[in-house]
């Protein structure tokens, strides 16, 4: 006779241990578990919104896998890939190099929450989260590896995290900071609430919509099935924040959200923003980054924050909202021009029709970032390929690890926010990045980013740069369209 979940779940959820052979503190060292001093009795009130048993989990996940893998099997992915638009190829190459290793890292983060979370319900959810992230790593690597026979870029699905490529360094810095080097409570607030609830919808739901419109049903299904797990295990954050707020730790919770939200925003702005606004073929774009952020982030996430009694991050109006309209546009210029430092083949995405779309979605684009593209486009149209590979290296922000950028062209506004500490000059692309550093200088001050390593000679500023990043000539990105995107301009001239 099968016992109904409702008959036993609440009892099992509250099952806990009173240690007899070691102290509570030895079992749950504060620096790994809970440095906020919340009583165990409070942790035992942790009540996750989504409740699942192992039996149900296995059944559901199996069904999801059958769905995702069978769609993949039905469609010849290699042929689909070969015939894909260069922009769509760039989406896939970039995604599969940038994302799977982060999923794999999250396995460890969830496992740590499983071990060191003081709330039984929290540990239970985190154990399923661990399994989820193993699944996400496996499914994305499996999908990626199918393309290995036709494109060397997909080798970076596995190779990337073993290199010091600047993009990978940037990702490692961000996600090591928020989920791999903090106690279980802090990691859960930063990972589950700020990162997963705040942003995974962008990369996995919004991008899935674009994928469906493009006709890449296999990729769309894969993204959706990953996100269905995120929707469940990201719920760890909410009851956790409720407990923190109830126990007088609202200020701490707010700061954790403020730090993590911004750090992850920067990553997703570049990754998702460029995919939505430049790589996805024009006819198949669902919405712009700005519109997706409005739907998935500004509306939903702020609603969740308010429900928990937290405030909008302090930088929301003055720095975040303007950033939504500018940051990824600047990053796209650099990612295109410094394409040989990336493992994927970027495209420009600035044909006359695409520029018209960008101007419509981001009024003023032509007068700002468009001015830089005018120069690049003219060079491409005239065949001046020597000017399409820069001879100067960008300065990276000391927090994001991406180029330190601002607004180009007629409304030029690029600011270097600096900090001098212990005889060293740090550079930041925004007051928020600088503020994050200032919250805990000891955490960040000994890190040398890509620019720092160039400045101090750790990385040679010549061909040795590629050797440093472990990029053979064949692995370096090239223009996904062979500069043909400028042909309409050439013809019009």
């Amino acid at each position: 006779m099968e016992i109904k979940n409702a008959d036993w779940y609440d009892l099992l959820q509250d099952t806990n241990w009173t240690p007899k052979y070691v102290t509570e503190e030895e079992l749950f060292p504060p620096q790994l578990s809970d440095p906020y001093g919340i009583p165990v009795s409070e942790w035992e009130t942790f009540d996750e919104p989504y409740k699942v048993t192992y039996r149900d989990y296995v059944k559901t996940q199996r069904e999801k896998d059958v769905g995702a893998y069978s769609v993949k099997a039905a469609v010849s992915r290699v042929d689909f890939y070969k015939q894909s638009d260069p922009g769509w190829k760039a989406v896939l190459q970039m995604h599969f190099g940038a994302v799977p290793f982060l999923e794999y890292g999250s396995v460890s983060a969830f496992a740590r929450i499983t071990r060191f979370g003081k709330g039984p319900g929290m540990r239970n959810m985190a154990s399923f989260g661990t399994l989820d992230e193993i699944r996400h790593t496996q499914i994305q690597m499996y999908f990626a590896y199918e393309f290995l026979s036709v494109d060397r870029a997909f080798d970076w699905c596995q190779k990337g995290p073993n290199t010091d490529n600047w993009v990978i360094m940037s990702e490692r810095h961000c996600f090591d900071d928020i989920e791999h080097t903090r106690d279980a409570v802090t990691s859960a607030v930063m990972l589950n609430f700020a990162f997963e609830q705040g942003f995974t919808n962008l990369q996995f739901v919004a991008l899935s919509a674009d994928a469906k419109r493009y006709g890449d049903f296999s990729f769309a299904t894969m993204l959706q099935t990953v996100q269905s797990d995120e929707a469940r295990h990201s719920q760890i954050g909410e009851p956790l924040i409720e407990i923190l707020v109830r126990n007088g730790r609202k200020e701490e919770a707010q700061k954790l959200v403020d730090i993590s939200f911004w750090r992850v925003w920067k990553q997703f702005s570049a990754l998702s923003g460029i995919a939505f606004d430049y790589y996805t073929p024009l006819a198949h774009r669902e919405f712009s980054l700005k519109e997706f952020v409005q739907e998935f982030v500004t509306t939903q996430f702020l609603r969740n924050l308010k429900a928990l009694g937290l405030e909008k991050p302090w930088y929301w109006e003055e720095h975040f909202l303007p950033d939504v309209e500018t940051y990824h546009h600047a990053q796209q210029i650099g990612i295109y021009m410094y394409r040989d430092t990336e493992w994927w083949d970027p495209i420009a995405g600035v044909s006359p029709q695409e520029r018209e779309w960008l101007e419509k979605k981001y009024p003023g684009w032509n007068d700002t970032f468009g001015k830089v593209w005018d120069v690049i486009t003219e060079n491409a149209a005239q065949g001046r390929t020597e000017r399409l590979t820069p001879t100067i290296i960008p300065v990276m922000c000391g927090m994001t690890g991406f180029e330190l950028t601002g607004v180009a062209g007629s409304k030029w506004n690029v600011k270097d926010y600096t900090l001098d500490l212990d005889g060293r000059r740090y550079h930041f692309g925004s007051p928020v990045d600088k503020w994050i550093f200032e919250q805990d200088p000891a955490r960040y001050k000994n890190y040398y980013g890509f620019t720092d390593r160039l400045a101090n000679g750790m990385i040679p500023a010549d061909e040795g740069l590629f050797e440093y990043m472990d990029m053979s000539p064949e692995e370096r990105g090239t223009c996904g369209m062979g500069f043909k995107w400028a042909d309409p301009v050439k013809r019009a001239a």
Binding site: G334, T405, D416
Partner: protein, 91 residues
């Protein structure tokens, strides 16, 4: 003294900061020229006729004298300079 000096270069019109390698003996005029070689015609349009490039400390208003050397300017490694377009009449 090392023969290379790294400056952060904020070139007017560009989308972001660049790393400029100059010599400690480079004058500000030479710093502007080196920046122009790498950035003008690649990211930002070439200066129009009658327009010069001047150097100032990042965020300040006053331009540094064109004959001032990097070693005399009091810069530290990776200090940031703005490179600004100025009409020859105003320079």
């Amino acid at each position: 003294m090392s023969d290379t000096f790294a400056l952060g270069c904020n070139y007017e019109g560009d989308y972001g900061l660049k790393m400029l390698y100059v010599s400690p003996d480079s004058t500000m005029k030479e710093v502007a020229d080196i920046a122009r070689q790498h950035i003008a015609g690649v990211f930002v349009a070439e200066p129009k006729p009658g327009v010069e490039l001047r150097v100032r400390r990042h965020g300040e208003e006053e331009f540094l004298p064109e004959s001032l050397k990097v070693s005399e300017a009091g810069f530290i490694q990776m200090d940031t300079v703005d490179i600004i377009h100025v009409s020859a009449a105003q320079a």
